[in-house]
Symmetry: C2
Subunit: 157 residues, 2 copies
DNA sequence: ACTATATTGTAAATTGCCTTACAGTAAATG
DNA sequence: CATTTACTGTAAGGCAATTTACAATATAGT
C-alpha cells in the first residue's frame, strides 16, 4: 500500500484540519475538562452542573431574569424555568416578580445558597491552583486580553 | 437603603467572584458562542452539534473507536453508539471491525462525508476570520501556548 | 385609544444523553 | 491452560433539555 491510509477518504480527511480547527478543539477540550473537574467537586453538595452554573451566575449578577440566565448558560428559557424550579424547591434561590414588568421573574439567592458559597470557594480555588500552575502573571494577562478580543469579535453580529 | 443591594444575600454574592472565576466564565462564554455559531452554520447540512463534532474528530483521526470518540466528545460510550448509528444511517460513516480486537468498531468516514467537507471548510474559515480579527500572530501563538499549558495542568490527575 | 408585534415564562410532547446492567472478547494471573 | 479481571459496545429505562404552542404582558405604530 502506497500510504498509511486504508482508502482515499481517510487520506483526504486527515489532511483536512487546520491549525485553527485545532485551536478550537483545544478550547473545547479545556472547558470540557474544567466542567468535568467542577462536576466532580460539586457532587458532594448534591448539585448538577446546570444547577451550580446557574448559582455561579447568580452569585455574579443577583436578580437576573430567566431569559438572561438562559442566554448565559446556553439553555432555552423553558429549561431554565425547570432548573429554577428545582433550585427553588431546594431553597437555594427565590423568584421575585419585577416591579416594572409583571411578565418577568428576577431570581435571587437565598441564605442557604450563601452558606454553600465558602465550600464551593475552596473547591474552585483548588482547581484554579492546578489550572494556572507554571503560568506567569504577564502571560495570564495577555491570555485574558486575547480571550476578550475573541469574545468581542464573535459578539452577536 | 444604604447599598444598591436589596438584602444581605445579594451583597455577599456580588462580592464573591474572583478574577479567576471571571476567566473561567469568559472561557465558557467564548466556547458557547463558538458552538452556537457553528450550530447555525451546519443547520443547512442537517447535522446536529454532536454529529458534526464527531465528524470533525473523525476528519482528524480516522478509525477512532467509539470509546475514544466518547472521551474526546465528552459523551458516554452508549451515547456515542447512538450517534454513530445515526451517522451510519445517513451514510456519512462506516463501522469496520478491528483486525486485532473483535470487541471494537473502528469508525471511518464515507465518501458522502468527504463531499460535505469542503462546504464545512468554507463555513469554518468564515467563522475563524471573524474570531481572530485584529489578533497579532505572536499573540495568538502565546495564547495557544498558555492554553496548552492549562490543558496539560488539568490532565486526568 | 386601538391594533399589531414582540417579549417573558409555562405546559406538553419529543429527543438525546446518561445510568445501570449485561454479553462478548481480551488480557492478566495463577 | 484455566480462571479472573478489564475493556468495548449494546439494550432498557430514566432524566434533562428541547421544540412547539400558548397565555400574559409590554411596546410600537397608527
Amino acid at each position: 500500500m502506497a500510504t498509511k491510509f486504508e482508502n482515499d477518504a481517510d487520506e483526504k480527511a486527515a489532511a483536512f484540519l487546520t491549525d485553527q480547527d485545532r485551536l478550537v478543539f483545544l478550547l473545547e477540550e479545556l472547558t470540557r475538562r474544567l466542567r468535568r473537574t467542577f462536576d466532580t467537586s460539586v457532587e458532594q453538595f448534591g448539585l448538577t452542573r446546570t444547577q451550580w452554573r446557574a448559582l455561579a451566575y447568580l452569585y455574579r449578577t443577583p436578580g437576573m431574569t430567566q431569559t438572561e440566565l438562559a442566554g448565559q448558560l446556553e439553555l432555552e428559557r423553558a429549561s431554565i424555568g425547570q432548573a429554577i424550579d428545582r433550585l427553588e424547591h431546594l431553597g437555594l434561590v427565590e423568584r421575585r416578580s419585577a416591579k416594572n414588568d409583571r411578565r418577568v421573574w428576577q431570581v435571587h439567592l437565598q441564605p442557604a445558597a450563601i452558606d454553600l458559597l465558602p465550600k464551593m470557594r475552596v473547591e474552585a480555588d483548588q482547581i484554579y491552583a492546578r489550572l494556572l500552575e507554571g503560568i506567569k502573571g504577564e502571560d495570564l494577562e495577555a491570555f485574558k486580553s486575547t480571550l476578550a478580543t475573541m469574545q468581542h469579535n464573535l459578539g452577536d453580529a
